[in-house]
Symmetry: C2
Subunit: 294 residues, 2 copies
């Protein structure tokens, strides 16, 4: 059965797992937990959890051992969306076709919901604090490095500093390798912590795949910001241009941006060659990322 | 040598350790790292790290094994200060006698600096992701539970909801047990993760001590907001009253608030009885917390 036939099942799986791992709205403080659930359970493509399960399939890890990792990386992703949408940041009132978290719950609650979602990611990965210590600690280290000031959050800081400035394409790539790429990379690499004695070459290959796809993902996002249908993307159309944000289409032209994404896609596939047939799940994910329409 | 003579040394120790564990301002993105260092290294009483080292002394753990825990709990504390001071939250332009982080660096950078400080806490505790896995994972679990939506961040959410409302003293205590108490508790309990075969009774006693001191600490904070000298506290004087915030002095009167703090202090000391002389470091910390003037 090709991964295409399992992807929807994995999306349902991670959404059930997230639902179980987030306190319900009747747990105090109700406003905070309602906002956290609104932000996380309100849809989304779940690309990072899918990458996590796909990478796990390639490595022969049962999905049950990756539910915590898949939930944690999604919680970090959603925390970043909630904070990036804030008025002091990208000031976006629309997310996934609905009011963004601060538009629905107020700025203070949105800040706290983002904060608590980040914490929840690490709490989920910590489990009961004693079982599978080596595996869980490894995943925490991978996720923390990807999330912090030299990863996703650092990339967002550079992104804000860059607004209205003239960037070279190489600067934009460096920024996006942190802002978007590092978390994509963590999704692919966390499963390696569950494999004792993974050959170094396999980890290097997965890392190369993930780096290429992290950047291809962002280029595709920029393309969709121009060409995508708002009904599908659920985002304010052309928001990057309005904000004076450098994007790949604006810096290198639409055709070159698409060509760059294709080249990264090809490089990502090449990195998987050593895995042979067994890498089909990640090949499918790569195709899905560069060919999606939302 | 009494703990009083070592406390200043521990403050210097954790500040050196924090300095080493935070990226310098020449690491990209410079603005974010500058803001993180400004927030963390700009003074402070370092009460949580001190509690961590004091608890470690009681348990016979060398300080070198607790530097990461002490730094992590302080990073979480400072992240909460940076976010609590934001205009959408407590809107405080002054912190430790200096401009608060958003006043000095802007709101967007302050949000990101708080986010990245939280991540850094877990990154520090994760270490290299492989060594001392059981000990480190246990500490991460303790810190995450204390930080999240059922701990410090949840307490702040309830605090914001409560502004301008009439609270009973019991509601305020419940709120502060989360908002302030949980992180104080984590500081005292993280060292227990470094002791194999700690008797359950010892952990219970430390927990009781920490819960009492967490609340006593907050009552003392409220008292200082009214009676403290701004030059010493470094905070806007009477800010709680201006904000319509319920405080212990406003709810129960100044004398009763002080009596409640004294009763909690006595209960905290009683919890330490089983440790005998060896608990002197935590006894000193308890006295320091309820008798401080800033």
């Amino acid at each position: 059965m090709p991964f295409a036939d399992r992807a929807a099942g994995y999306v349902e799986r991670v959404e059930r797992a997230l639902d179980k791992r987030l306190p319900t709205a009747d747990v105090r403080p109700a406003s905070l937990h309602t906002a956290m659930r609104y932000a996380v359970l309100g849809g989304g493509k779940r690309i990072r959890p899918l990458l996590c399960y796909a990478s796990g399939e390639v490595l022969g890890i049962a999905p049950g051992r990756l539910d915590d990792a898949a939930c944690a990386v999604e919680c970090v992703h959603v925390f970043s969306l909630v904070h990036d949408d804030l008025p002091a940041m990208d000031d976006d009132a629309l997310r996934r076709g609905k009011p963004s978290t601060h538009a629905a719950f107020g700025v203070a609650t949105a800040i706290l919901a983002g904060d608590a979602l980040q914490t929840r990611a690490f709490e989920i990965l910590a489990g009961d604090g004693t079982s599978d210590a080596t595996e869980r600690l490894g995943m925490i280290a991978v996720l923390a490095v990807a999330t912090g000031s030299r990863g996703m959050t650092g990339g967002q800081a550079v992104d804000l500093e860059s607004e209205g400035k003239q960037l070279a394409a190489a600067d934009l790539e460096a920024l996006d390798r942190d802002k978007t790429g590092k978390l994509i990379r963590a999704a692919v690499l966390m499963p390696t912590c569950a494999v004792a004695d993974l050959p170094a070459a396999s980890r290097v290959a997965l890392d190369r795949f993930a780096k290429c796809m992290g950047l291809a993902f962002q280029i595709k996002d920029d393309v969709l910001d121009v060409e995508g249908e708002q009904a599908l993307t659920g985002k304010t159309h052309g928001a990057d241009a309005v904000r004076g944000k450098a994007t790949y289409p604006s810096l290198m032209g639409m055709d070159n941006a698409k060509r760059r994404a294709d080249a990264l896609y090809a490089e990502a596939l090449a990195a998987l060659d050593a895995f042979g047939e067994s890498a089909e799940p990640l090949r499918w994910m790569a195709r899905y990322i560069v060919h999606r329409d939302r």
